[in-house]
Symmetry: C2
Subunit: 131 residues, 2 copies
DNA sequence: ATCAATTGCGTTATGCTATAACGTGTGCGA
DNA sequence: TCGCACACGTTATAGCATAACGCAATTGAT
């Protein structure tokens, strides 16, 4: 369950996401990588699955898109919940972590005897520049 | 921006959701309502759009599905953030609200000079029964 | 009363997102 | 060297959502 060398497709996908200003859909990634020999959606989705598993990429559930993690090193020792602000003007995504929210959620969920596997926190709106 | 009488399609869709154990996709709702004359996805999606606007229904972004709001009366005076636990075993969805989380998020977002329009908090895992 | 604007309806067609199912190739340990 | 695990590539299909058209009913200002 470590993080092996990335394969060619995984590197291409991570590269595309890292060099992008904002989040991209799997099909947008596909388009960007056609010149480099990526032809089918599955090639992208399979790479994304691994990158998600390694914590190098996040999926934004509310917009069906993906972003490169902004602090991949920290994810090696699995920081808990990741939250995002997503600007609907310029697409800028900001990732953040907060202990207080995490603990409060843990308390609430515990009260339901619910066992958390994946937590999604996404805030859509407009960033400073987009007013 | 009030809440007028529901139209036939809106009532049918809300009824289907209310009588369901768990969340349903738009296409599942469509299937349940074919006998009652609903034939096309758009009829369902248009009804859902209005029901979401009125606060009678929530969209679960992480699973592309919809649930009836469990406290529609409270939404008349727009309670802020709604959070959900979603059991991947039995599909049970529990809606909850928490002032502390809401305020903490407000602070963090303010720090970015970000203006929130819609907040999504969804926790997937397993409920008490599904261990 | 009438016309215009608004809103919902119904239909067809289409687009976007994601996965199923199949077979190939490659590396590596028993 | 056999068998397993894993990544790859391709075709096909499933699942989610909206565009664009025209019709009908309602409302409301003139």
């Amino acid at each position: 369950m470590g993080m092996p060398q990335l394969t060619r497709n995984q590197s291409l996908v991570l590269g595309a996401l890292s060099h992008s200003e904002g989040p991209m859909s799997a099909y947008t990634i596909l388009d960007k990588l056609r010149d480099q020999g990526v032809r089918a959606p599955l090639q992208v989705y399979r790479a994304l699955d691994k990158l998600l598993e390694y914590g190098l990429v996040h999926r934004l559930e509310s917009i069906n898109a993906f972003v490169a993690c902004t602090c991949p090193h920290e994810h090696e020792h699995d920081h808990g919940v990741t939250a995002f602000t997503i600007c609907e003007g310029c697409g800028q995504v900001t990732e953040f972590h907060d202990e207080a929210i995490e603990q409060r959620l843990a308390v609430l969920v515990r009260g339901q005897s619910f066992k958390t596997e994946k937590t999604t926190i996404e805030i859509r709106g407009h960033c400073k520049s987009c007013g």
